[in-house]
């Protein structure tokens, strides 16, 4: 199968400019600058169906068109490398093994958006990713891929600033990331206005995930139809899935968007650890509700996952075998969101610790059947949270109650 975003990972010193150029790097940018208008680029990317790989799956080409259409200048392109969703580590691989691919994608986005300034924002813990990305930025400046009159193209200037986070999951939320870039606490902002019009420093901003931008060069080179055909129907292109939990071989696999969990876990992950029975799996990070083994053949793409009451999320698939207690697993998720709630809005700030308390009660054998209804009600009220963190924080808990109710009842009824 053809690879889009991981194709260079096996090359020696794949993170260096030399290696990247040997693999044909920066040729897509050259094509864009010589043969295409900004409109051509966003139209092509729209046609390809490329959508936000951070988990929101917003059409990328449309986002670029919106940014270009806003008359305010300067316009920005921001790379969101704040990947912090439990069970997710795909951006880390890209940052460590192919930062130039992401930078080339960023430059293509900048051209499509008529943007002149950019930020690369990477979570604080990715030390090796910082080093290699900063080195790639320096190399790109020296080689004339960044700065003024890029590749000799009059009027195409783009300056990039590298920034690192300092430990905060919420900053992966795009407007919270803008606040962090501006040197503030990472609280989210109200939407609308959306970042395409009012982004970092109040200016039009295309904020894209590392993986999304990494797909752009190949789309320019091979065309929209090629990219569409890599996926399954409306789920176009590939996705970097990553496996962890009770799986034989944790790892990253770039596969057609819409690959089933069965293929991912059994064909690529070597099956469940020690050949044990599969109890369930999370399709995309902590925020996604776990599914039981009856859903192993559902395609891991946004629409199918929504139909099952969960989300595609980040593609971080976490495997549960029969040794995992699903009440404890739900409790871990609740603890994570309690820790990571920014405390700005009440439904999330009060809701997340309440989820923890109710689950503690159940785990200590002091829960009642009413507590299961209470978890549902509390979750429903958390839907009024200010941002996605609070709106999703209860989903893994409610999902666990729905899919694995007998385990919760066993604690409550003392079985």
């Amino acid at each position: 199968m053809e690879l889009v975003v991981t194709k260079n990972f096996g090359n020696p010193q794949s993170w260096t400019l030399e290696s990247y150029r040997n693999a044909g790097g920066y040729q897509a940018l050259e094509k864009v600058l010589n043969e295409m208008t900004p409109e051509d680029v966003s139209e092509l990317v729209k046609e390809s169906g490329l959508s936000g790989r951070g988990g929101a799956f917003f059409p990328t080409g449309l986002k670029w068109q919106f940014v270009r259409s806003d008359p305010k200048t300067p316009r920005y392109v921001v790379i969101n490398g704040d990947e912090s969703e439990p069970g997710t580590y795909v951006n880390r691989y890209s940052l460590e093994l192919d930062p130039h691919l992401m930078l080339e994608g960023m430059l293509i986005a900048a051209y499509a958006c008529n943007a002149t300034l950019g930020y690369v924002y990477i979570r604080g813990e990715y030390g090796l990713g910082h080093e290699r990305t900063q080195a790639a930025i320096r190399e790109a400046y020296e080689a004339g891929y960044l700065g003024q009159r890029i590749m000799g193209k009059d009027g195409f200037d783009f300056e990039v600033t590298f920034r690192r986070g300092a430990g905060a999951y919420i900053v992966g939320e795009e407007t919270a990331l803008f606040n962090s870039l501006e040197g503030k606490r990472g609280n989210p902002r109200y939407k609308p206005p959306f970042p395409t019009n009012v982004g970092v420093w109040g200016l039009p901003t295309a904020i894209n995930n590392v993986e999304t931008l990494s797909a752009a060069p190949a789309i320019i080179e091979n065309g929209a139809e090629w990219f569409q055909n890599l996926g399954h129907g409306e789920a176009t292109g590939t996705k970097m899935y990553c496996l962890s939990g009770r799986v034989a071989k944790p790892g990253v696999h770039e596969l057609p968007l819409g690959t089933t969990a069965r293929e991912l876990i059994y064909d690529y992950g070597g099956g469940v650890l020690d050949g044990r029975p599969l109890k369930g799996f999370k399709p995309g990070g902590a925020s996604s509700a776990a599914l039981g083994p009856e859903h192993l053949d559902a395609p891991l793409e946004p629409r199918s996952m929504a139909e099952l009451g969960t989300i595609m999320g980040t593609g971080g698939v976490v495997v549960y075998d029969d040794t995992v207690c699903m009440v404890d697993a739900a409790y871990r998720d609740a603890l994570f969101f309690e820790e990571e709630s920014c405390g700005f809005c009440i439904p999330c700030r009060e809701g997340t610790p309440n989820l923890v308390q109710i689950l503690e009660r159940i785990l200590h054998g002091q829960g009642t059947m009413d507590d299961l209804d209470l978890l549902e009600d509390l979750g429903a009220s958390m839907m009024s949270s200010f941002c996605g963190l609070g709106q999703f924080a209860h989903q893994p808990v409610r999902g666990a109650v729905r899919a694995f109710r007998d385990e919760f009842e066993a604690y409550i009824l003392g079985r």
Partner: protein, 172 residues
């Protein structure tokens, strides 16, 4: 929302830290004109002191022309900033999902037992402290530990102890 334990806002500087304050002021000169550099300024302070003392907050506020309250607000928001002196090697043990079901609790316990400390408590020689942290994005190395920004995993109790032995050997 996590309320991260830290030192009260009184001076925590040791005698002779004046030179460090001068060092920090010099580093901040490069950040003065860069908009939004508060996090980088706090990182600079942490590099100089191993944590961000109240005097550094005051200095950052002055140099970056920000209210002190805003700098303090940023300091307390992000979990990688310390408000009390931190160890030379901060051992961040992931506690989430994949690491948890792969044995992270045993790794954290082995480290704490070996060091004779509790989470965030610095050993007497100033070399080590453990932290129990949110997902580090090292799920393929489950259960994973970060030593400062260095990636380690997969670990178990025994490998955790030999990791400590390796770090001690570096110091010998």
């Amino acid at each position: 929302m996590a309320i991260h334990a830290g030192a009260p806002r009184r001076s925590t500087l040791a005698p002779g830290d004046q030179a460090k304050l001068d060092d920090l002021r010099a580093r901040l000169a490069d950040l003065k004109d860069e908009p939004g550099a508060t996090l980088e300024a706090l990182y600079a302070a942490q590099e100089v002191f191993s944590y961000v003392p109240p005097e550094a907050v005051t200095m950052i506020a002055e140099e970056l022309s920000l209210p002190e309250s805003e700098v303090f607000g940023v300091l307390t928001f992000y979990t990688m900033f310390h408000r009390k002196p931190s160890a030379k090697y901060v051992l961040r043990v992931c506690r989430d999902l994949s690491c948890h079901i792969s044995g992270a609790p045993a790794v954290l316990k082995a480290l704490n037992d070996e060091l004779g400390t509790r989470v965030t408590e610095v050993t007497e020689d100033g070399l080590f402290e453990t932290e129990s942290v949110s997902c580090l994005g090292l799920c393929d190395l489950q259960p994973a530990v970060m030593v400062n920004l260095e990636q380690h995993g997969p670990l178990d109790a025994e490998k955790a102890r030999s990791l400590l032995a390796d770090l001690r050997a570096r110091e010998a």
